[in-house]
Assembly symmetry: C2
Homo-oligomer: 112 residues x 2
Amino acid sequence: MHSPELLKGTLQTIILKLLADSGKMYGYEITQRVKELSGGMLTLTEGALYPTLHKLEAEGLLSTEKISMGKRVRKYYLLTPTGTNTAAQKIEDFEAFIATMFKVLQIKPQLG
Amino acid sequence: MHSPELLKGTLQTIILKLLADSGKMYGYEITQRVKELSGGMLTLTEGALYPTLHKLEAEGLLSTEKISMGKRVRKYYLLTPTGTNTAAQKIEDFEAFIATMFKVLQIKPQLG
DNA sequence: TCGTATTACATAAGACTCTAATGTATTAAA
DNA sequence: TTTAATACATTAGAGTCTTATGTAATACGA
């Protein structure tokens, strides 16, 4: 991203939405999915991702499953019922934020 | 705003765009204009606004004019040529950010 | 088979941006 | 006359990120 500051506050929303859509994902998978969906415009750094995943788990929004892949252990994250509600709420908040920003900046959403 | 974290990174964009549209404004006027345009959803705190104005001035994006209103002194901020360019760039960055977020979140802009 | 890239987890220091609190002073309105 | 609004400003602290670093398994090409 040209303006990484804009990303602030959106990381939790992104994680929760991806998990809501995909059921369960592990950390590295999330970074790859974001890169793919954004067409390479957005890259999640591990220093941001893992602390956020741990925080969301500590808050009861996510639960984890460890799956052994040979000698390697993958840690899958899943939404809890609370996490599912929060995911929906975060999406709404984001949409409201965008609508407000369009008003304040007096610009219109671009389609396509 | 329900999610004040989302505002992070957008303050400079808001200030520069308002000045681009209005020619010149003073700090308090900016807070009122944002409140008005957002329908009360967004309130700029002075602790965020003034340091940002000073920073933008120090970076050469804004210049100032002090106007005496009786015993009170208003400090008007204006875009420099560089500031005008940066304002346009920040709007573009914001629009690109929104487009990317819609892709990543797999949602669509709401019209109206 | 040896080195490099990728996969996969994680932490820590520091930067940056904001909120909340506080401060000063003028002016308008009740 | 006292409260609200106007108008400037600073500071401590919180929160969220980037950058750097670390460990280790696996895949791939030379």
